[in-house]
């Protein structure tokens, strides 16, 4: 039995169904990230776990106990809000201790708990300041301190890093990951940033329009997306989704990629998914991540399934750590990720290696993965 179980959860506002039957579970000490574009219901889902929103149907269980009818304060959870929601009229110490004060914890115990948390988060020197006298990163720490001091069963984070600048966001991300590793707490974390999702999670639920599109480990989500939405949403730069045709030539299938004013590229697919045979002579969406489309020298040497084809390079983007090259296949701009020192010129043709063991195929009608 999992530690956190969300079972057939539905949420309606009037006639509008915001959450359409969510089923998710998380083991103790796990880190679940709810990710999706804005308006997908991820924050609403988090609020229902917190008890700030009532659910219409279904059940939420923590440690085997149904909590969906309990008041937020009785659920043994702590929450970190996007705006940090620090009480502006109280000092940092007052903010951290407020929950304990409301529960009637004696002052001496409160002080001990504050000191302990302040030590973990290194905010001891800030305890007597007001939130308005803190920087963004310090506020973020205090908000986490307020959650940590409670020692709850479940931590909820609602886009905690989205108000920080880019560099601080990376620092705090590492901080959160370290905190999770050292304290072993169970966390549910909402974000729209797929990099945060990939780096932090032990489990990811990709959501759209109130439904979980895919639920799995980061590697599963990244390498085996179940549909075009998940494939497109996760990964930066996004996966190349190229309209293509499947061709059969006797002993195997191959994928045909159209090119402007040139011969189409034909790539044989040994070990093609079994479902692909039904799409012979039909259109599919051919999905290949930028890192699976690279210069032949940079391709995995022991990759079993690498095919090379000349491509016309339209744009070159040197990004420092990598060089991105844009070519045109199937009428779409396709991004290839090359080594930083790859010698490549825009307007020329250059061989690119397709790692076909990493390629995926989707049905253009249903947008689902062809397995």
């Amino acid at each position: 039995m999992a530690f956190l179980e969300i079972d057939g959860l539905k949420k309606r506002f009037g006639n509008v169904e915001i959450l359409k039957g969510i089923n998710v579970e998380l083991e103790k000490g796990g880190f679940l990230v709810l990710v999706g574009p804005s308006g997908c219901g991820k924050s609403t889902l988090l609020n229902t776990i917190a008890g700030l929103e009532q659910i219409t149907e279904g059940e939420i269980r923590v440690d085997g106990r149904a909590i969906n009818d309990l008041h937020p304060s009785k659920r043994d959870i702590a929450m970190v809000f996007q705006s940090y929601a620090l009480y502006p009229n109280m000092t940092v110490a007052g903010n951290i201790a407020f929950g304990m004060e409301m529960r009637g914890v004696p002052a001496a115990e409160r002080q001990a708990a504050i000191d302990k948390v302040a030590k973990v988060l290194q905010i001891g020197h800030l305890l007597n300041r007001k939130p308005s006298q803190l920087s963004g990163g310090q506020r973020q720490r205090v908000a986490m301190g307020r959650a940590l001091v409670r020692d709850p069963k479940l931590f909820l984070f609602d886009e905690p890093l989205s108000n920080l600048d880019a560099k601080l966001r990376v620092d705090m991300r590492i901080e959160i990951k370290r905190l999770h590793a050292t304290t072993g707490t169970t966390i549910v974390y909402v974000t729209h940033d797929q990099i945060e999702a990939m780096t932090l999670a032990t489990k990811i639920a990709v959501m759209r329009d109130g439904e979980v599109q895919q639920f799995g480990t980061p590697a599963e989500i990244y390498n085996n997306p179940t549909n075009i939405f998940v494939a497109d949403f996760m990964g930066s730069p996004a996966m190349n989704l190229i309209p293509a045709k499947i061709d059969g030539n006797g002993n195997g299938l191959s994928v045909v990629l159209d090119r402007e004013a040139r011969q189409p590229i034909v790539l044989p697919i040994p070990g093609a998914p079994t479902g692909l045979a039904a799409f012979k002579d039909k259109s599919v969406i051919f999905g290949v991540r930028p890192e699976a489309l690279t210069d032949p020298e940079g391709a995995e040497r022991n990759g079993s399934n690498i095919a090379t084809a000349d491509c016309h390079i339209e744009v070159v983007e040197p990004a420092g750590s990598d060089t991105f090259a844009v070519t045109n296949l199937g009428g779409k701009g396709v991004v290839a990720r090359l080594r930083a020192d790859a010698r490549i010129q825009p307007g020329t043709s250059t061989p690119l290696a397709f790692n076909l063991s990493k390629a995926v195929f989707f049905d253009p009608a249903t947008e689902k993965r062809i397995l």
């Binding site: 609020n47 917190a50 008890g51 700030l52 008041h71 937020p72 304060s73 959870i77 702590a78 929450m79 809000f81 996007q82 705006s83 929601a85 009480y87 502006p88 009229n89 407020f98 929950g99 409301m102 529960r103 307020r146």
Partner: protein, 314 residues
Amino acid sequence: MSAVASPARQAASGVRARTLNRIVIYGLLALFAIFYLMPLFVMLVTSFKTMDEIQNGNMLSLPHAPTFAPWIKAWSEVCSGLTCVGMKGYFWNSIKMVVPAVLISTLLGALNGYVLTKWRFRGHTLVFAMMLFACFIPFQSVLLPMATILGSLGRFGVTLQNATGFNFGLGNSTVNLVFVHVVYGLGFTTLFFRNYYEAFPTELVKAAQVDGASFFQIFRRIMLPNSLPIIVVTVIYQFTNIWNDFLFASAYAGSGDVMPMTVALNNVVNTSTGVVEYNVNMAAAMIAALPTLIVYVVAGRYFVRGLMAGAVKG
């Protein structure tokens, strides 16, 4: 002559135009300020003059021999109708009415605003619209219905008096006025606080809920301590309105020892025996105006700031 003016000359003419604008703007403002402050000035200087000086001198001139006698007379001797005990009793009547009325209406307005923004219920917009409508009801139209209600409360007070030996203040004129002003002020105070709390981050309330704070704990520990600007605005607004009110005061407490300041001042000025003592009248009027003036001076900058806050996010 070149077609393009040199940057230096352009800058110079820009500075001249700006200076001229400034002179016009500040000149007009000064003129209006003088216009508004003139009556106050006349009242103030007249209240320190002797009657001789008033009858023979210029209205705008400063007093030759300033005297506090008119102020002392206004405070403790002047006649309001037939009783000649000064304004002091009526001043305290007003204080006894204003302080509870302001505190109660402000607190209830804050509570209403808190519920209407953070604990929304079905039909909250309708309730708010009706409370807003209360702001536009003219005083005169509620005079008679309110008199009926106050009469009933008075009779209920008598019943309580007979039953328990204590009337709980029902039927008392000061209590009646407090009640009337609280009811009439609720529309305004609710409007102020609702608009302020509308922009108040709801996440703070949610965080407090997760922290285990109750409805009133959130109100007392989170909402009120962060509402200083709007509390000041509401207090100034309510204090000025209630202190200056004449209609309700004269209708429900228009005679005897219970008169508030405004009614008493009217009686002093309208007393028509002998010479009109302008200096004493002016001093009495100054005494009547002083509390609102002090409130403005002490808290005025919050007033402007608070009104602006409501204007931008409302």
